[in-house]
């Protein structure tokens, strides 16, 4: 072989990856119009040149046989679910949808429901829904990690992943708990390697030791769903032994503030407030009171010369009060390591040692950065202090019906250790921190939904009090998914996992049209999958489908496409414009805001159209305000034109992109539209990075300079300090409503106890709801999923290279499970919950807590989906755990069903299911069950030739396959 390689007809273009939600910068080399190579962009702040297994396999996604290339209509006379389709033109497609939606909007806009998957364009889809006038909109967050978002945002005003994370550059101790291998991907891998090489100690707390946990210095196995108990006990030790950061707690949290502790008093459980010092803010006025230890008197908490007690019980004008911290200490008193040990399975002395390691590292390895800054009360500081203990957590904590409080407990631990927005601890990413809670609010009642009218409120928001709930006069939900109702008051991301079941049942209401974008609701994104598939084809007595019209937009033949009446073929990430916007989930770094774009590297395949263009087109046709001129004429040529020129309000200077604003790109964050903005992004690695001065990079909840900068640049509405809610008065207000002690909106009688119980202003632990209702003798094991690093959701079974890494999944378990039930490693077994059973292959492992069985998520597929052949492993040996998990709790009350979700946020309780495992009979087929009829191929899908497949860029083979397909289906090209 010769050493030098002459590359002909090649060109390199930068864009942003979309093989997962991580959004790394990539450089794509094309050879004769085909993808030669995709590599990490060394000049990109997120991934700094590296790339993962998925990103490196983008070629095989681009040329996947699962690609949809034509708009499709279910054939007249064919049954939904039979998979019979005909290609139609975009003109026909748009007029069918336009007519339908116009009619809905003129009569009852909530009959249109729009739910989207891991799409990263919520700022646009949410805008469309709001102006259409439907509240029935959400993305995947409600069944993903809303507990993570809400648990942290309602405590510290920020959260993990897009909005914040562990500062592993400076941390000395890193605790990762409940994190699978894809949250977050490359940036976390980069930082973990640095951390390990710098000699820090990495502790992984997880029922399973895979991926990241493999390189932990210590693995602490824990029973699923018990994380909150562990945190209660850690907090118990930290408080009891004085390992907390007293100074931090007093200055930057509500710990020392006095709470009314007189049970007979109207204000019991609320902060004592002064009438003075009331600073303007949207929700959290700081006119509260400390007990000053110099004067022995109450004093305003805004008097920064005072020296308050952290503990204590006092008397203010004859009313008994306690500091919030005293209430916390009282609460934690009985939650000992011994108590937690029984629940978590972690030895008590290990829990105590972990607390000591955290507390002592935070206290004795302090970091002082010589960075001067000024706090929100005007005090100047010479340096920034860091307590170098960092945490990271994700769905392992979040996806339980007790996840909200687990995460609030963890956030309180991080706070006790004094690690919030400090070096070596947790760091925010713009646009966070935001007020607790952030200002956007959902609509308040049925009257906020009117024909031909924009929704009065945001489809998704953050209730700050019971009066912000979206309920009718009886306290019943208005949203299809029952979001922001008393059942799940703080459901900031909606409850997509209940949308289909509720629409099918017609409770709280039926719908006409369901538009799903990139959401695989007929498979891995739904609980109770088999039944949900039946609901999608179920009919009323009059022969009409219970969900009359379903539109599915996807680039690939997912299981959900099978149930569509209309299929919209989306483009791949290499074929479109896209924005990672500050209005949505940007890619900010700890040192300042970052947003980015995708630009097309390749022309669209066949008749593929980016979903954004569909939204712009429909918005224009329906005359929705953001998309038309005052005269009602179409305002934007296309999506790129919209991105450049759309402003959040006329002249606001705030748009989807923060970089290169102003007429010639001289401004950032705010500024008038710049006609050359896309080119400027394209010429700058498709990314805009704003580095804050060092004095604005830390302590941002209380950093005067940062807060004023953020306000001035439109990131936040207020510049008030964001005090940490160690004690949650917001929760107390919900509890008071449930107790009938508060005027305003009242919960329905049957939910009063529930709201009172779970709206505890202090950290609490409760078992996951379904576990409480399960016979644990019958179902002794927990069943959970993990996410493999080489695949993202269901996206990659269509990928010829990645499916060779995970062609089918196993049920992993400790050998003792097999020994007890008489089966061997590799046997076919049944795994059964009280909701259903699945046949699969077991694999023994010593790297799993013995009371837990687990599998990789979303590798099992329905037969024929994702362009796979009938014989593919994914649908024969692979399996989907979702068949065992119900979307509703197994208790039907007089008032109906209740979602299998967190009672605070509506987060889907994926990991609460309990199971038993037993050997399949010898005469049973060696095949997964349940299984489904093979989905037929759709018009416009590429037929790969049988036999060996060898990819060589520039050969034209793959381009040829695609061309052949589009010629055949359109008959004209």
């Amino acid at each position: 072989m010769s050493a030098s390689h002459e590359r002909k007809n090649t060109q390199v273009k930068s864009t942003t990856c979309y093989m997962c939600a991580c959004r790394c910068g990539i450089n794509v080399t094309l050879q004769d119009g085909e993808v030669r190579y995709i590599e990490g962009n060394p000049d990109h702040p997120l991934n700094k040149g590296v790339i993962c297994a998925k990103g490196s396999s983008g070629i095989m996604k681009q040329y996947s046989p699962a690609r949809l290339t034509q708009p499709l209509r279910r054939k007249a006379g064919s049954e939904r679910g039979a998979g019979e389709y005909e290609a139609i033109t975009w003109d026909e497609t748009f007029s069918i949808i336009e007519d339908r939606l116009r009619n809905i909007r003129e009569t009852d806009p909530k009959k249109f429901a729009l739910f989207t998957g891991r799409d990263q364009m919520q700022a646009l889809t949410g805008l469309f829904a709001k102006h259409f006038g439907t509240p029935n909109y959400a993305a995947h967050g409600g069944f993903c990690s809303v507990n993570m978002a809400a648990g942290m945002i309602y405590t510290i005003g920020g959260s993990f992943w897009e909005f914040g994370g562990p500062d592993l550059e400076r941390a000395k101790l890193f605790i990762m708990i409940g994190t699978a291998e894809d949250h977050h991907s490359n940036p976390l891998k980069i930082e973990m390697a640095h951390f390990k090489r710098n000699g820090g100690k990495f502790i992984s707390i997880n029922p399973v030791r895979t991926g990241y946990s493999a390189i932990a210095d210590e693995w602490v196995p824990i029973r699923p769903g018990t994380d909150g108990a562990l945190f209660m006990a850690l907090n118990h030790v930290i408080v009891k032994e004085g390992l907390f950061d007293r100074d931090f707690l007093i200055k930057y949290t509500n710990s020392a503030e006095l709470v009314n502790n007189d049970e007979a008093h109207d204000d019991y459980g609320l902060f004592v407030r002064t009438t003075e010092d009331r600073r303007e803010s949207c929700i959290d006025p700081q006119n509260k009171v400390w007990w000053d230890r110099t004067s022995g008197e109450p004093v305003s908490s805004q008097n920064r010369n005072a020296d308050p007690y952290l503990f204590g019980e006092y008397d203010v004008d004859g009313t008994k009060v306690k500091t919030a911290f005293q209430l916390l200490a009282d609460r934690l008193e009985s939650y000992t390591p011994e108590w937690a040990s029984e629940i978590t399975g972690i030895p008590a002395d290990t829990i105590t040692r972990l607390a000591h390691e955290m507390g002592v590292t935070a206290r004795d390895q302090k970091i002082e950065l010589p960075i001067a800054w000024t706090d929100a009360w005007g005090e100047e500081h010479d340096s920034v202090t860091g307590n170098p203990v960092a945490f990271h957590a994700m769905r392992g904590l979040a996806a339980h019906s007790n996840g909200f409080h687990s995460i609030r407990n963890m956030t309180i631990l991080m706070t006790l250790l004094g690690t919030i927005d400090r070096p070596g601890g947790f760091r925010h990413k713009a646009p966070f921190p935001r007020p607790i809670p952030p200002c956007p609010k959902p609509p308040k009642g049925p009257d906020d939904v009117q024909p031909n009218t924009e929704l009065n409120g945001m489809p998704l928001g953050f209730p700050a009090s019971p009066d912000d709930l979206f309920v009718d006069d009886q306290g019943e939900p208005v949203r299809l998914d029952k979001g922001f109702s008393w059942e799940h008051p703080l459901s900031a991301h909606g409850l997509m996992h209940n949308a289909i079941t509720n629409a099918w049942r017609g409770n709280p209401h039926s719908i006409d049209t369901l538009l799903l974008f990139m959401a695989n609701m007929a498979w891995n994104s739904s609980m109770n999958t088999s039944e949900v598939r039946n609901m999608l084809v179920d009919k009323n007595e009059d022969g009409e489908y219970k969900i009359p019209f379903i539109i599915v937009c996807d680039a690939f033949q997912s299981e959900t496409v099978e149930f569509a009446d209309i299929v919209l073929p989306d483009t791949t990430y290499l074929e479109r414009h896209d924005v990672m916007s500050m209005l949505d989930r940007p890619i900010s770094e700890y040192d300042g805001p970052v947003d980015s774009v995708r630009v097309p590297i390749l022309p669209p395949t066949g008749e593929c159209k980016p979903f954004q263009e569909v939204i712009i087109e429909l918005g224009s046709r329906l005359g929705l305000k953001p998309f038309v001129t005052e005269e009602g004429k179409r305002k934007y040529r296309d999506y790129p034109d919209f991105i450049i020129n759309h402003e959040t309000a006329p002249g606001s200077g705030i748009g989807f992109l923060a970089g290169w604003r102003g007429k010639s790109g001289e401004k950032s964050m705010k500024g008038e539209p710049n006609p050359n903005q896309w080119e400027m992004y394209a010429n700058n690695n498709c990314v805009y990075q704003h580095k804050l001065p060092p004095s604005y990079q830390y302590m941002r909840n209380w950093n005067e300079g940062y807060l004023e900068w953020a306000q001035h640049h439109g990131l936040t509405r207020f510049s008030d300090p964001i005090q940490i809610h160690l004690y949650s008065e917001i929760f107390m207000e919900f509890r008071r409503a449930a107790q009938g002690k508060r005027a305003g909106k009242q919960p329905p009688e049957h939910l009063r106890d529930r709201v009172e119980t779970y709206f505890d202003p202090l950290p609490m632990y409760h078992e996951p709801l379904e576990v409480e209702m399960t016979n644990r003798r019958e179902y002794p094991l927990s069943a959970i999923t993990q996410r493999p690093m080489a695949m993202y959701h269901s996206w990659d079974s269509q990928n010829a290279w990645l499916r060779q890494i995970h062609a089918h999944n196993f049920l992993h378990m400790h050998p003792s499970v097999g020994n007890e039930h008489g089966f061997k490693d590799g046997d076919w077994v049944w795994v059964e919950s009280m909701h259903g059973k699945v046949r699969c292959i077991c694999q023994f492992s010593e790297a799993v807590e013995p009371g837990t069985v687990w599998t990789w998520n979303a590798i099992g597929k329905a037969s024929g989906a994702w362009g796979l052949e009938k014989e593919a492993n994914e649908s024969n040996k692979g399996f989907l755990l979702n068949h065992l998990i119900a979307e509703e709790l197994p208790c039907r009350t007089r008032e109906g069903t209740i979602s299998n979700s967190d009672p605070v946020t509506g987060q889907a309780g994926w990991y609460d299911v309990r199971v038993k495992v037993y050997k399949a009979e010898d005469d049973e087929p060696e095949m997964t069950s349940p299984s489904f009829d093979t989905a037929p191929r759709k018009p416009g899908m590429m037929a790969y030739p049988k036999g060996p497949m060898a990819y060589r860029s520039g050969s034209g083979f793959f381009k040829g396959l695609l061309k052949k397909v589009s010629a055949k289906t359109t008959g004209s090209k």
Binding site: G40, V50, G55, T210, I215, I805, S953
Partner: protein, 242 residues
């Protein structure tokens, strides 16, 4: 004499398979390609990879280690695959120590794969030639690439920088330093193959706490006991004669 090699740091490898597919992506359209796949969308898909990650467990619960172990041609200094080759297709380059296969001479007899104790060679069932890691020889000398990108694809891709590329005969190279200072070792040295690739072992960090770490004068619980004496409380002032 130069001996190029990979140093693989098991202390940070999380088993993400970035090296597996970035290798395939570069090489299938490169000089060592194509890298053929069979049953790409059907039953039991297989294909040619130059690099695979094996994951295995060591020890018993709860003292279990999960090891991710990336494996590719080790570019032995005494490669057993070379002398067994009947056509001279399998050879070791004098200038940089890379072991390569000349596809034009290879007859697909598989002697080399039987001779290799590491299982690092893969026959391309479609072309009927033996294929293996080339250390991206068509990248690393390519002067049209920026200098810092003249590295094997797997090294550039690796998110934890667990793969270090360099000359293990050059004492001053990063690769040699890591072998020296981080306990780099070879696989199955008893075979006398002298693999050029080395592995760096797992390391464990511990926090050693002493009992007086928990008994400190600055314990904030002590600070809480502060109470200001009242004006009527007894002081020295009440009993002093001066």
């Amino acid at each position: 004499m130069t001996q190029l090699a990979l140093i693989i740091d098991l202390n940070v490898c999380v088993g993400c398979s970035a090296c597996v597919t970035s290798c395939k992506e570069w090489n299938t359209s490169g000089e060592a390609g194509p890298m053929t796949d069979f049953n790409a969308f059907g039953k039991d898909p297989t294909g040619t990879f130059f690099n695979r990650v094996q994951t295995f467990e060591v020890g018993e619960y709860p003292d279990t280690e999960t090891i991710h172990f990336p494996k590719s041609c080790l570019h032995c200094e005494e490669p057993p695959c070379v002398p067994v080759c009947p056509t001279g297709a399998s050879y070791k380059r004098a200038e940089d120590g890379i072991v390569l296969v000349d596809y034009d001479k290879c007859v697909g007899c598989k002697y080399c794969s039987w001779a290799c104790p590491y299982g690092a060679r893969e026959i391309d069932e479609s072309q009927k030639v033996m294929k293996k890691c080339t250390l991206c020889v068509d990248r690393i000398y390519d002067t049209s690439l920026p200098e810092d990108r003249r590295k094997p694809a797997c090294v550039l891709a690796c998110p934890t920088s667990a793969r270090i590329f360099g000359d293990v005969h050059d004492e001053n190279s990063e690769a040699s330093r890591l072998i020296r200072e981080e306990g780099g070792y070879q696989l199955m040295p008893e075979w006398g193959t002298k693999p050029a690739n080395h592995y760096l072992p797992r390391k464990k960090q511990k926090i050693n706490l002493e009992s007086n770490d928990l008994k400190r004068v600055d314990n904030p619980l002590k600070g809480e006991n502060f109470t200001k004496p009242g004006a009527d409380d007894a002081t020295l002032e009440d009993a002093s004669w001066i």
